[in-house]
Symmetry: D2
Subunit: 342 residues, 4 copies
Amino acid sequence: MIPEMMNAIVKTQKERGAEYKQVPVPKIEPDEALVKIHAAAICGTDIHVYQWNAWAAANMEKAYSGLPRIMGHEFSGELVAVGSAVTNAKVGDRHMCKTGDSYNCQNIRRFKNGIYAEYAVVPAAALVKLPDTMSYDVASVMEPFSVATHGAGMVRMVGDTVAVVGAGPIGLFTVKIARAMGAARIFVADISEFRLDLAKTAGADIVINSSQTDVVQEIKQMTGGLGCGTVFETSGNAAAVKQAFQFLRKCGAMIMTGLPSQPIVLDASDDIVWKAAKVFGVHGREIFTSWEISKGLLGSGRVTVDDMLTHRFKFSEFKTAFELAEAGLTGKVILHPDALAQ
Amino acid sequence: MIPEMMNAIVKTQKERGAEYKQVPVPKIEPDEALVKIHAAAICGTDIHVYQWNAWAAANMEKAYSGLPRIMGHEFSGELVAVGSAVTNAKVGDRHMCKTGDSYNCQNIRRFKNGIYAEYAVVPAAALVKLPDTMSYDVASVMEPFSVATHGAGMVRMVGDTVAVVGAGPIGLFTVKIARAMGAARIFVADISEFRLDLAKTAGADIVINSSQTDVVQEIKQMTGGLGCGTVFETSGNAAAVKQAFQFLRKCGAMIMTGLPSQPIVLDASDDIVWKAAKVFGVHGREIFTSWEISKGLLGSGRVTVDDMLTHRFKFSEFKTAFELAEAGLTGKVILHPDALAQ
Amino acid sequence: MIPEMMNAIVKTQKERGAEYKQVPVPKIEPDEALVKIHAAAICGTDIHVYQWNAWAAANMEKAYSGLPRIMGHEFSGELVAVGSAVTNAKVGDRHMCKTGDSYNCQNIRRFKNGIYAEYAVVPAAALVKLPDTMSYDVASVMEPFSVATHGAGMVRMVGDTVAVVGAGPIGLFTVKIARAMGAARIFVADISEFRLDLAKTAGADIVINSSQTDVVQEIKQMTGGLGCGTVFETSGNAAAVKQAFQFLRKCGAMIMTGLPSQPIVLDASDDIVWKAAKVFGVHGREIFTSWEISKGLLGSGRVTVDDMLTHRFKFSEFKTAFELAEAGLTGKVILHPDALAQ
Amino acid sequence: MIPEMMNAIVKTQKERGAEYKQVPVPKIEPDEALVKIHAAAICGTDIHVYQWNAWAAANMEKAYSGLPRIMGHEFSGELVAVGSAVTNAKVGDRHMCKTGDSYNCQNIRRFKNGIYAEYAVVPAAALVKLPDTMSYDVASVMEPFSVATHGAGMVRMVGDTVAVVGAGPIGLFTVKIARAMGAARIFVADISEFRLDLAKTAGADIVINSSQTDVVQEIKQMTGGLGCGTVFETSGNAAAVKQAFQFLRKCGAMIMTGLPSQPIVLDASDDIVWKAAKVFGVHGREIFTSWEISKGLLGSGRVTVDDMLTHRFKFSEFKTAFELAEAGLTGKVILHPDALAQ
């Protein structure tokens, strides 16, 4: 029933791109499970790996034994085999993955390989059973959704004015969560009109194209000169980070999720000390708490994310998928094994 | 322009009831303001005073010099005179009151008299300017709304299961706020069908008539045996309090706003220690924080309370108003000076 | 090297007492370790079991398959064998136990048997390696010390007035920790002069014999009528709990660690709601955080507990040990295997 | 009894230095009090003003109407006159000042003039009565001590490893408070041997001269490569700030009290986001909470600061005082009116 070979998207060269090719279906150890992948999502780090930019080169070398390697780490699927020591899951269960493969965490056991494939091996400890009502597509984005939940969990936003810098998937999920947590007014800044439109769909009150407008002045003017009580920086863009500190309100909270790709010059005196700012670096998620909150929000229907899953492609169409995502013309992109795609 | 005499609802006797009668318009001290009342609301403590029950007898004696005394403490209005030392307000401003007259707080200067009257004197320090977009009726309930905000501020409800015991005004506002703060599922228990219907309007998912149903069993069954992560006890009913602890989840938070009128026998071993429960007595509000949150929620339209203001009466119709409220047949009841009522 | 038989203190009958007798040395499963016990401590629950009071009868039945059973759950020792699947520990390591066997926790795997014995089997996951500088005696009380740390972690005591009700081991450790966390003034109430003297040694500023003095009046008088900002209730005595709420300051925090053996009648209106009290039931400990704090405090020498370990007995002297502890004439009592006792 | 003229240290020119000269004793408004100064302290901002460096030029212009102006803002004294509207203080009371004159806060009413003078006018609202047991000298440093308390209040240090960067008065007070709050191990870095010696007196475990030693390597090595869980940056030195982030532990907290005088280049990716750091800008203090904690700590004797008040001078000796302080050869310096100095 489980074939010998499968199709997968494989990073074979230290250069832009990847290959869609046949590889062997992997074997499981006693504490692992074999998942038949139903949905996989594209994350920002997957794009880095696809592009093979400086960050990917530096971090992939550190993290993994090398190429070739199957790409991808956000997924959901069905268990088709479990190891002899596995007690928390059984064949036939629908599952998603609790951890993602975060490329960098010290304590989490890394996936041996990626999951843009028809089958993937994961440690049983990383598996979470899907609620019956949750689709595979939604389940495949639970991990990044939980990163947004974790960041949002640093603050209380009820009744407050919030800004989200960057309208990529983490930013969009943050808008949804800020809305659910009672934010009074939500600003979103990005340079892609497509993403700003999505941000409106997600619940932003005011969207600002920061390539055309002076975001600092605009937000200050619309908040009576005060700025925003909470700012989520999800872009990682150095200029955007600097601006974000400027429209942060005195005593406000800055949650930094975006990974700045270059050093950032901060006027720490004005932007942090005088301002009595709180700055929270967010990396990863408190696995238990954030997942419980995410399941509560998505499972109860208080938050829906279907409208943020803007594009679906077959594995074999991965090049188009990555190029659209790179261009800022997508929300979250879902990939399906060709055999399961409709 | 300011008359010598005015109409007011006055508690004259230590017995059930009150009188609608003419009394002198009061004079202000240098740090006070005279407010032309536009809207006044009925609070649970006003009902106690109207009934002159044991609680009222005990507490009114402690708090005030005695009768006669004008009733009421929740209001909004327009300033018609300010004392010579007042710098934070001017004649013509629309105002509401930051503190209510809480009947019991040690540190807050008490109102000299009640506010169910055409004019009332208040300390200037207690005044808050109304946002232009907020009606006098909504403004008159900002104080109890902030009590609910303050109670809700003890916990995070995002993605969690919440129960509200008692669907009086504080309970109904709590439902609204829990909804705004991302509660995944909200249970409400009360014995009045009228109020349970209102709770549904406010956003409750499941309402339970505790006079007909075993609430503990019902909630446990609907939460997979776990109970609720957060329980708001707003009824003050001894039996209801006991039940509330029983459907509180292990490690959950109990927020007690209702004033139990009799001693409560708790199984502290099972209900608090073994359960690792957190219990928060809520009395009053952190004035600054809660008001800012309340203004953010109501001012931005994230929460509306108009649908909870179910009845409006003229001052002269106060008996009907109090009797309906006593019977559990109202949400929040607003009183208007006869001359201003439409 | 590991013998077939060993000496142990065994509960054999559902009545007061226990037997010191020979039993087989237990065998380990692949994920377990065999510990050569060096030190074991007497906990309040051990005394319940020794007495076989109502609590013991009710809870031991629920928790365990029945008698005979070796007593005890707080210990330290040296690993003499580890199962084939154990990766976090090796033979020769000095270890203590992270969890105790709390008699009641739902999620923690229970010890198969007690540890008042020359050897004991424990799940490898529950083992913590001893810092080189920590003695076996101190290590054997890390578990109850961490319960105290966990309770203290509910509040900030720096600069505040603190009361500890009950000067048993948890109360005494709490005094030590409150001192370390900057409490300005510490009151301790108990009915044993022996324990009150120990409380002074631990760092209490004022000790009160509540069998001779009106504790409520005394503490109120010495705090300018305000009461204490933080109260730790470790006695579980119903009358003491009631008093504790009375000398809790408005807006103060009550941490309840003691297990009330009977229902407690609280005036929830005055003691919790009007008082805006925070009440924290403490059961167990956040294993990671509390242990890290405890290791930091004891490992750095900021807190020492040797002076609270007032009595040491051989296993074979267990009757004397239990009787002294029952009588309130001890701090923490340590038991040693006869062969290792000096 | 109150003279017409008094001696004061006056900033008369926009250049280094000040003058000791006769000026009129100021008059009070109805809500003010006249204080006979008994002790005054030198703060870092006073040194900036004395030097008339770029910061002073920029900030003094913004904050005040101009020169001449009496210097100083930290003081204690005795009330010799109170305005007609003052109800919280009376002549003869010993007082200290709750706010300092923070040179920059938006909401606090500024002192009309400085307090290095025999008499000073302060708003009655800013006065705090001295505990009977507190000396004028200690009282004069309550304001900076509370800044340290406020910064320390951002975190829990019990059982944790702490670093304090900069051993000026705020740094030294922070060491005292960290010790009182249960820090397991305290590192202090500075470039002045005099101050590092003081830091040892204050309770530091390990002091590091960062002009001679690689602080980052040293601290990492002594913490098993982990770094410190809490770092207090009180120096404001750009290079020191950068180092401070490097020896901050993953998930640690950085409290920034020092005012960086130049922009700081942070590697936000590594130092904040990947590290999941929490950064707290500290400016001013939560007036009520921090003062209560400070009074609790100093009033109870848990913390003493006399040993940090290393130098005392007469007002007329101010040049020597400022020059020693500038050179890093002092702890906190106290100035006394010549007539009251012994």
